[in-house]
Symmetry: C2
Subunit: 120 residues, 2 copies
C-alpha cells in the first residue's frame, strides 16, 4: 500500500505506445503512465477532467481552435467535455491523472480504446 | 482553463516552506506544489489519500513502523487514516495530488495548518 514508485523504472518496464498503464490509485483517481508516438483520435471525456504531465519528450495537445505544446515538467488539465487530440511528433512519455473510470478514447470509442488498462 | 503549467516556473515563484500552493484543480482534486525543510508534525487524513511526488531533493516519509525515502521522480501514496510525518533533511520540492478538501495537518490541526492554500 505504501511502497514508493519510481517513474523511470515503471517507464522502462514497457515499450508499447497508446496503452496507458496504471501505477497508483487514490481517491477514486488513477495515476497512469503512457508512451505516445503519432496522432491520436479526437475525443472528449464527458464527465472527467484529465491531467497530462510530460516526463520526457514533447506532446502537442490539439484543441479545435489552437494547439498547446508541453515539454518535460509541463502539465495541462483538459476539462471535461472539451474535444482534444494528443499528437506526438516523436515518442513522448507522460503521466496522466484522471478518474479511475476514464477511458482513453472518451466518448469516441473505436479500435484504439483501452477499456481496462493494465497495472504495472 | 487550458493553459499549460510549468512546474519549474511555479516552483521558482515562491520560496517559503511548509505552505503548499495550488496550481491546478480537476475532479475535485488539487495539484499542489510545496517546499519542505525540516520535520513536520505527525498527522493523518481521515478521508483523503495523499500522493507525494518529489521534483527536486529528497523526502523522508516516516510511518510509525518504517521510513520511506523518495528522490526525484519517485512518488508515494499515503492512504487515508495512516499516520505519517514528512521530514526533509534539506530543502525538497514536491508535487502533491489530493482532494481539494485536504488540509496539510490532517486531523491534527495546530499552528502549522494552512487551511486555505494560495493559488499560484
Amino acid at each position: 500500500m505504501t511502497e514508493k514508485i519510481c517513474l523511470a523504472e515503471k517507464l522502462a518496464s514497457f515499450s508499447e505506445t497508446w496503452t496507458p498503464k496504471v501505477i497508483a490509485e487514490l481517491n477514486g483517481q488513477h495515476v497512469k503512465l503512457a508512451k505516445l508516438n503519432g496522432e491520436f483520435v479526437w475525443h472528449a471525456h464527458e464527465h472527467e477532467d484529465e491531467l497530462f504531465l510530460v516526463v520526457r519528450g514533447s506532446l502537442e495537445i490539439d484543441f479545435r481552435v489552437r494547439t498547446v505544446t508541453l515539454g518535460p515538467g509541463e502539465l495541462l488539465v483538459v476539462p471535461r467535455g472539451v474535444e482534444h487530440r494528443p499528437v506526438a511528433q516523436s515518442e513522448v512519455e507522460l503521466l496522466l491523472f484522471e478518474p479511475a473510470s476514464t477511458v482513453n478514447t472518451g466518448e469516441m470509442g473505436g479500435d484504439r480504446t483501452v477499456a481496462n488498462p493494465e497495472w504495472i
